[in-house]
Every structure is written in structure tokens, then in C-alpha cells.
Amino acid sequence: MANQFRGTDRYIATDELMAAVNAAVVLSRPLLIKGEPGTGKTLLATEIARSLNKPFFEWHIKSTTKAQQGLYEYDAVSRLRDSQLGDPRVKDIHNYILKGNLWEAFDCEQQPVLLIDEIDKADIEFPNDLLRELDRMEFYVYETRETVRAKHRPVIVITSNNEKELPDAFLRRCFFHYIRFPDTATMTQIVDVHFPNLKRELLHEALTTFFKIRETPGLKKKPTTSELLDWIKLLVTDDIPPEALRSDDAKKLIPPLYGALLKNEQDVHLFEQLVFLNRRNAR
């Protein structure tokens, strides 16, 4: 099949991820992606669109987002105001129907990719309100009494951070994939893609330090791929030599520019303590 997703020049996809994406593309069912924050869930949709040459729509969900907003909104308030002001636009209801992202995607002339980002942030009923839309890819506009149908069933990628459980009926309609935290080999590939000219030793040291930090028990927030990439970027810009990352450096307790990896002071503190203890034991 020519139309297959195999990752891109800036996104490394594992075999399992490719299998999931391709299944979702071929059968045009929504793909639900979960995983630790910073493992490239959101980026995936962009990269699918880029590699398969499809138009891309995104719909970011907030705690106040309603399912209806993705379809369309009827701006009754401005119509009411216009009627008071005697605006001629008021005669045509279509002037007050604002298309949502889902409608835009349904209207697209070729099969688009639609990202519904962080669906778990929305209200608990939100996924239930989208069941028919995702299943049949159509919805009904009450105000104008028309049914909007997708011209081409879009490839829908939905991401979730597990803040809320999603209802079963919704899950049944989706494919599901959990992006596991990459192992060292995959991580090396990922870093390679982002920093092709990185020195071998620096990469090696950085990855060792990174995985060591991740293994620290009790961290509030484990650093993830995107944080590693930020950190390496900082290391490169500041031209830090690989030796500085080695833990036997006597002066520094924690790696340089740790702020990119550890995101709260308790974690930094905990890590300092552990490094200190380790060093004392080593003596």
C-alpha cells in the first residue's frame, strides 16, 4: 500500500504505532492515543497529515469546550443584537451559524486529518455527545434543518492524558494505542532525528543521565521525550562538554541545566539528596 504511515524525517514511529495508525487510516475509524505527557501524542497527528499529504485540522479541548462547538455554533446573541439595530443580515440564519472544526474537516475536498487534542480535559459527557458524529461522520443542524455529511471520512486522532475515564460506548468506536515510553534504542533514534550532528559521547552521556533521572523513585513528574529534547538543545547551545554530564564530576551534584528536566523544586531536592547519598555510599 502506497498510503502507509511509516513515521517521518522528524518523527520516529515504532512498529506498534505504525500498525495502529495504518489500521485507523485504512478503516477510517478514530484513533485514540494515550501515553505519558511529552511522548509525542499531539505531534503524531501533524506528522500523519504531513507524511500522507493530507490537510490538517486541529481542535484543542479545554475544560469549557462543548461538543457542539466542534460542529457549529448558532450565534443567537448577535442575531438578536442585529435585529435591534436593523441590520439586513438578520434575515438569513446562515449568517449566524459558525462552523466548528469538525464541520470544516467534514467539508474538506480530500480526506483530512483531524486532531482532537486532550479530550479528557472536557466535561465528562463530552465524548458521549460525539458518538454519532464519530461513528457515522454526520450531524444535523437544527437551525437550518440540514444534515452535514463528511465528504471523505477524516482520519481522526484523539489524544488523552487519562484525567478522566472515557465512556465505553465511545471507546468501542475507536482504535486505541498507548504510546509507551521509548527504550534507549528508540530514544537514540529520536534524538538523532532532532539533532543529527550531535556528538556521540554527548548523546550517550545525556541519555544515561536522562534514564537515571527517570528511574529516581518518587519523582512527582518524570522527564519525558520532549523535555529530553529541550535539554539537549540547551546543552548544545551552551556547548557543554560530555564530561560535565558524568556523575563522577565531584563539584556538581546534579546535571547542568537540570531545569529543563526537573520541573518542580521537590523533585530537584529529592534528586540532590539521592545523588548525595549515592556518592557517600560509593566512597
Partner: protein, 391 residues
């Protein structure tokens, strides 16, 4: 073959439905299976499993079911019969395959092993190595345990690399086996809900708008209001001591029901009685705890405080400094309990011990007295009373 696998998954506890099986068949028909065991494994997982908590169970079921059958994949790759997909749904095993399976101890035995394993897990689970559904390590050691010597999916077939994927069982940690609490508990807890309008005003306040418009002489004056939300806050302190082992299951149900019912729910564990520190993760209780003072500082007095514990211990553990069974406490537990209930005017203690036995235990009586009698049994009626006390 797939139908059997399907039922196997259901038996293992992965919630799969017919829709999902049909989706998988459709996907296979579209040629996504690629005839390699590994691809098939990923594809089937994407179609059938909808939560990473079930990945581990899926791995186990997959390993058990396709044990010996993975050779089938290589066989298929050799001659590729055109109609193999059609046959998948209704496939029966050939004599040769049956012999293969028989050599492995037979299906019944495999299934039985699986069942035994599950039971074993449940027991150990209840034994206290993993408590009340905080995500954590899976308590069962898996390999090595098995009276029959049938090792599910441990030694690889011809296609080694493929077997490895599900044999690694990397998702073992994600499997939380807490059964969802009974609906009854949830409904009882629902009475605690207190709706309040907080946050972004994004709803049209109709009455307000009409009022304001009328006041401004008919010119529209839109008024907005925030949405109604459940604003109740709960601080749950759970006893995790040895004597609580008998009540683990009911407490789990209570906990998981409470967790799904309240947005602002904080929980901490204690052992037998409250002292100067509590902890969030039972595995790290010795090196990672939160001091009780800090809890009082962090969570305001609008939190409702619920203790869950059997309050069954030696009275010294309550009244004396240094009475704790686990460590040296500088101040007696009663002082700490007093501080907590002074700070949180709405409090209650839920006791899983049957009420009839309360009189026989001195420590329960003492605790009850300190709590001004606000101790309730862990029954539906008790929960109702408890909620009355909290509202």
C-alpha cells in the same frame, strides 16, 4: 480461532465486545494483518483493547492462546491460501495442530492454568502487597508459579522475536485490578454532592438577562454565569494496617467509587492510628511521607475529612507517646486526631468492622468518644448516616 481468542480475552477480564471483534476481522480483511505474528498482535491489540490497564491481560491471553499457533503464521506465510481470512472466524484446529496443543498440556489445562493464575493473583492482591488501587507494581511474580509446569508463553517458538513482545509483559504495571465499586456506594456518595457556580461565566443567565434588559428599558443586556459544578472536597485517610486485611475488598470498592465521584479527592494512608506523618504511596511509606501539619496547612477546612479504619489496636497506640507499633511517636495519636478534627469541622470515621463487635474493642470505644460519636459502619445505611454527618 479468533472466536476462541475472543472468549479467552473476555474470560481474562478484558472487556471486548462483538463490535470490536468484527472491526478486527474487517481490518484483517483489509490486509492489515500482514501475516506476521507480531503485526497481528499489534493490530488485534489496537482493535480489541481500549485501555492500557488491560494491555497486560491481553498479553497473557495472547501468549496463552497463540502458544504453538505462532508456527501457524510461518506456515501461512509459506503457502498463503487465498481464503485463509474467511476461515479465520470459524477455523477449527487440524489434527496436527491439536496434537501440538495436546503436547503443551491441552487447552483445558492451559485455560485452567490461566484461571489458577488469576485466582492466585487475587489472593496475593488481597494479602496486602498492593492496596486500594493506587497504580503500582503488579503483585504477582508470574513466571515460575505453576503447579502443572505449563509455562505460558515463556519459551519462544520458531518466531522468537515475535513471541518476545507479549512475553515481556511490559504493561504489567498498568494493570489495576480494582473492581469498580458497587453502584450503591456511588449513589450513596452522590448525596454528598454540593453544586456551586465557580469559574468562567460561560452560560447565559436567562433570568438575569431578562431582568437587566427590562431595567435598561428594553435594550439587550446580556448576563452570563458560571456552570454548576460539584464543589465538594474530600480528604480521605485510610488505615492500611495489618488488621485491615480482612476489609480490603470493601475498602477498595469504597475508594474507587469515591475516586470516580469526586473531583477534589485527596487520600493518605496511615497505620492503625494518626500520628505526625501520613503517606500517599504505601510502597514508599518509610521514606516519603507528608507530615500531618503540612496536610492541615495544605488542605483548607472546607475539606470534609473521612477516616476509614477499623480502629482496632492496643489502647496505648492512641493514648501514649511512643505507642505506635511502627515507630517512636513523640506525641500520642489522640493529640494528632484532635488537631485534625479541630481543623476540619466536618469529619466522620467509617469503620469496616461489624457494628456488633465495636463494644468488645476498647480502642474503638475510645476513638468513637474522641470523634464525638461520629463513627459509622461500612454499610450502605452507615454511609448514609456518615454523609448526614458530613453535610
Amino acid at each position: 480461532m479468533l472466536v476462541k481468542f475472543f472468549f479467552m480475552l473476555r474470560k481474562t477480564g478484558v472487556p471486548v465486545s462483538i463490535t470490536e471483534l468484527l472491526t478486527l476481522l474487517e481490518a484483517l480483511k483489509a490486509g492489515l494483518g500482514d501475516l506476521s505474528a507480531e503485526r497481528f498482535y499489534y493490530l488485534a491489540r489496537t482493535c480489541l483493547v481500549k485501555d492500557e490497564r488491560f494491555y497486560d491481560r491481553y498479553d497473557r491471553a495472547f501468549a496463552a492462546h497463540f502458544k504453538g499457533v505462532e508456527d501457524l503464521f510461518s506456515a501461512l506465510q509459506r503457502d498463503l491460501p487465498a481464503d485463509w481470512l474467511e476461515n479465520l472466524g470459524v477455523r477449527e484446529f487440524s489434527d496436527e495442530e491439536k496434537a501440538q496443543i495436546e503436547a503443551l498440556g491441552g487447552w483445558d489445562k492451559l485455560m485452567e492454568t490461566l484461571k489458577k493464575r488469576l485466582e492466585e493473583q487475587k489472593e496475593r492482591h488481597q494479602g496486602g502487597s498492593k492496596w486500594i488501587g493506587t497504580a503500582g507494581t503488579s503483585p504477582y511474580g508470574a513466571y515460575g508459579f505453576n503447579p502443572e509446569g505449563v509455562r505460558i508463553g515463556q519459551d519462544g517458538g520458531r518466531n522468537r522475536s515475535a513471541v518476545k513482545v507479549w512475553d515481556k509483559r511490559e504493561f504489567a504495571n498498568l494493570d489495576d485490578k480494582v473492581e469498580l465499586g458497587t453502584r450503591n456506594i456511588k449513589i450513596a456518595l452522590r448525596r454528598l454532592r454540593r453544586f456551586a457556580r465557580q469559574g468562567v461565566p460561560d452560560e447565559l443567565a436567562l433570568a438575569d438577562t431578562i431582568d437587566a434588559t427590562a431595567r435598561s428599558g428594553g435594550w439587550l443586556d446580556i448576563r452570563m454565569q458560571a456552570e454548576r459544578r460539584n464543589a465538594i472536597k474530600i480528604l480521605l485517610l485510610l488505615d492500611i494496617g495489618g488488621s485491615m486485611d480482612d476489609h480490603v475488598k470493601t475498602c477498595e470498592e469504597l475508594f474507587s467509587a469515591a475516586k470516580s465521584e469526586f473531583k477534589h479527592l485527596e487520600h493518605f494512608y496511615f497505620h492503625n492510628f494518626i500520628y505526625e506523618a501520613l503517606w500517599k504511596d504505601n510502597r514508599r511509606r518509610f521514606n516519603q511521607h507528608t507530615t500531618t501539619t503540612e496536610i492541615i496547612r495544605t488542605y483548607g477546612s472546607d475539606y470534609k475529612l473521612i477516616f476509614v479504619g477499623d480502629a482496632t489496636m492496643s489502647p496505648y497506640e492512641i493514648t501514649h507517646a511512643g505507642g505506635s507499633v511502627e515507630h517512636w511517636n513523640a506525641e500520642p495519636g489522640s493529640v494528632w486526631l484532635d488537631r485534625l478534627i479541630k481543623h476540619y469541622p466536618k469529619f466522620a470515621w467509617i469503620n469496616p468492622q461489624p457494628q456488633s463487635r465495636w463494644r468488645q474493642t476498647a480502642s474503638i470505644d475510645m476513638t468513637r468518644e474522641m470523634l464525638e460519636g461520629r463513627m459509622y459502619p461500612l454499610t450502605l445505611a452507615g454511609l448514609d448516616q456518615c454523609i448526614d454527618a458530613l453535610t
